[in-house]
């Protein structure tokens, strides 16, 4: 038991350190946003024919070495390609067009193709639509837990559930910030995974405690 509490203390200290480090990273460097949500630039090239994403990828890899790029097909005929990168220089645009003209026999001109600026998406705009659903679900779960585990003390159960969720989510967000995992499309599934694990873990623990309590009561009655 003594050993267990020592482990808990060490774990708590590690979590606390992660959260503090996370707060510092978020405050100083912010999140490393997924390119889809990051401030970026885009060019659209009308190829007049169907194309393979992989072929365009080869060209962008060659022209924009080392840069993360999003390649998308445009409109129903899929004969236009949209290339997005954090930054596209005029030279890169010209090279892209030259390579594409060579590959697809098009006569695209760098003068007529504009580099569009794509604004950044704020983290709060990504998260906001999920806040209300999570809040509704959490309130109902807390009500259920308070009723189901009332023998263990409803208020204690509610506070433990809220506290544990705050700690686990804060740890996750901090880890995302520290490890520079892109903040974007996979963030919500990660949040969901941690939320589910926390809730299932807490339920398992409360069930065990409830069983022990019931057994104790039985013994006392006996």
């Amino acid at each position: 038991m003594k050993d267990m509490s020592k482990k808990t203390k060490i774990l708590s200290a590690i979590i606390l350190l992660i959260i503090i480090a996370g707060i510092i990273v978020i405050a100083t460097k912010g999140f490393n946003f997924d390119l889809k949500y990051e401030k970026s630039q885009k060019v659209e090239l009308y190829l007049q024919q169907n194309f393979e994403i992989n072929d365009i990828k080869e060209i962008t890899d060659e022209v924009m070495q080392g840069k993360q790029v999003i390649i998308q097909k445009v409109e129903v005929f899929e004969d236009t390609v949209s290339i997005t990168a954090t930054e596209i220089t005029d030279e890169e645009k010209a090279n892209l067009i030259t390579k594409i003209n060579e590959k697809y026999g098009t006569e695209l001109s760098a003068d007529t193709i504009e580099i569009e600026n794509i604004p950044h998406t704020r983290a709060r705009d990504i998260i906001m639509p999920y806040v209300l659903p999570f809040a509704i679900a959490t309130v109902i779960i807390l009500a259920y837990m308070a009723v189901r585990y009332h023998k263990l003390g409803s208020m204690k159960i509610i506070l433990k559930t809220i506290g544990m969720n705050i700690v686990t989510q804060a740890t996750l967000i901090s880890l995302i910030a520290i490890t520079r995992i892109p903040f974007g499309r996979l963030t919500i599934p990660m949040v969901l995974a941690v939320y589910l694990l926390t809730m299932v873990g807490l339920t398992a623990k409360f069930e065990k405690n409830l069983l022990n309590k019931k057994e104790e009561e039985k013994k006392d009655k006996g």
Partner: protein, 485 residues
């Protein structure tokens, strides 16, 4: 006999698996076509309508009289008429430099978000360039997208002005809410049917203004006696003669404008004290399509007015459908990874529980296949969160099967049906009690409109229901067939 039954169940599962993973192909016009329905994908996996809204740099032409008042119906005036009347033409930008501020850009974005919420847009991304004020919108592509796009750049400026002086009598600040109402019209044979109304409800202050306006701008009846009565309420018509034509011309009217476009010019029969104004959209009709059109028009107008006046006028610069950057190949790759992990987990199950493990694995594969078919035929829209939901369901089912088999492990060589029955009961109790919070969460998520959340909720709810039903029917019976009486 038991072996035949096990073999039959196994073959059925193999068949379902083939259908779920490879499909059923038939000859359609010289090509093979899969008859199994495809998955419906959300915006993040399929594609979205991308609209760039640019801050308008267009100018508004206004014609003013010698006193500097704006002239009504100036669009119909020719340059000659303008000069003859001594009017002047002025070009003013829709968005002056004072208006182009970060605060106004942000407010416009917020209003846009409000509009999307009221229009029930189930998934969108709005990006604001705070330097230029340009807004980039990504919304789900469906039947309503065009109608939504046609309204997003609309400022939603509402005004009731004096038709003559152009004095603004009421504006957006007086509106409390705008909604759509229906009414049946059976009074006339020619216009029988349902009528669609735009109901504008005003604030307390707006209500008083409307009452005052409707008192001052009263209709002048053609009958001379009535006219005389009306004049008491309207000073401008005090000097009316018996000639009804002259009386009509002196009637004070108001003009209702939406985005500087004149919607109607009217006067009132009697003072309006309810603080509500109903505008009919189109005429009464019994045709469902026509009515739907009117309802859509009214709804869009209601949303635009209800969400307030956008401080900036935007022009739709680009409007195109862009496919998702996650390609079908990448989705297939994710599917193969999931199959690989599941295969590895099932091998562990077989090594751990031997024959029981094989039966558990067969049952598990059956559930996974049926689950993938259910998702397709239940019209569940798959987003990244939905795919994550599939993975969670497969993990939950693995936990269930493992728990079930674990309870039978000790007696696996001399297994009795009663033991399987009891193990099944215990597994159900233990498993479902532990996942009640998950069930609560996914049920709540099913009612949320935001597609990524509802996708996760729908996938999970079908998955959990399937785990509950399938394991009692298939896994339980498959293991019972292995047991002795």
């Amino acid at each position: 006999m038991r072996k035949i039954k096990i073999l039959t169940i196994t073959l059925i599962i193999v068949l379902i698996t083939m259908v779920a993973f490879f499909g059923i192909y038939t000859h359609v016009q010289n090509r093979m076509e899969n008859q199994v329905r495809d998955y419906s994908y959300a915006m993040d996996l399929d594609g979205s309508r991308t609209i760039r809204l640019k801050v308008s740099d267009e100018n508004k032409t206004t014609v003013k009289d010698a006193e500097g008042n704006e002239v009504a119906d100036s669009e119909n005036l020719t340059d000659e008429q303008i000069t003859q009347n001594g009017y002047t033409k002025e070009e003013t930008p829709y968005n002056s430099d004072e208006v182009k501020t970060v605060e106004n850009y942000r407010k416009s974005k917020e209003i846009l978000e409000e509009r999307f919420k009221e229009l029930n847009v189930d998934n969108y991304i709005i990006k604001l360039d705070e330097e230029t004020g340009d807004i980039l919108v990504e919304i789900t592509e469906n039947d309503n997208t065009d109608s939504i796009v046609s309204n997003i750049g609309t400022p939603g400026k509402f005004e009731i002005v004096d038709s003559e002086t152009q004095e603004v009598l009421m504006d957006n600040n007086d509106i409390k809410l705008v909604n759509v109402m229906y009414g049946s019209n059976s009074s006339s044979i020619t216009s029988a049917g349902t009528a669609v109304y735009l109901n504008i409800e005003f604030t307390k202050e707006g209500r008083s203004k409307l009452e005052e306006i409707s008192t001052n701008y009263t209709k002048v009846a053609e009958d001379s006696n009535t006219t005389t009565e009306n004049t008491t309420a309207n000073e401008t018509t005090e000097n009316t003669t018996e000639d009804s034509t002259t009386e009509e011309s002196t009637e004070k009217t108001i003009t209702m404008k939406i985005d500087d476009e004149e919607i109607m010019t009217t006067s009132f029969d009697e003072p309006l004290r309810t603080g509500k104004l109903q505008l009919s959209i189109g005429s009464s009709s019994t045709d469902t399509d026509t009515l739907n059109d009117y309802v859509n028009q009214a709804n869009n107008m209601a949303v635009v007015l209800d969400t307030g006046n956008m401080p900036i006028k935007y022009d739709v610069d680009t409007n195109e459908y862009i496919k998702a950057d996650i390609t079908q190949n990448e989705l297939q790759m994710a599917q193969y990874i999931m199959i690989g992990i599941a295969a590895l987990a099932l091998i562990i199950l077989i090594i751990r529980y031997r024959t029981l493990g094989i039966l558990g694995a067969i049952s598990y594969i059956g559930l996974a296949s049926i689950f993938l078919l259910v998702i397709r035929y239940a019209n569940v829209v798959l987003s990244i969160e939905g795919i994550f939901g599939i993975a969670i369901v497969l993990i939950l089912n693995y936990i269930f099967v493992n728990k079930f088999l674990n309870k039978l492990k000790e007696n696996r060589k001399d297994l009795k049906k009663e033991e399987v029955k009891n193990a099944n009961k215990e597994t159900y109790k233990e498993f479902f009690i532990r996942i009640i919070p998950v069930i609560i969460m996914v049920v709540a998520f099913c009612f949320i409109q935001w597609v990524p959340i509802s996708s996760f909720g729908m996938v999970m709810i079908w998955g959990i229901a399937l785990i509950a039903a399938y394991n009692v029917i298939i896994t339980n019976n498959l293991l019972k067939l292995k047991a002795k009486n």
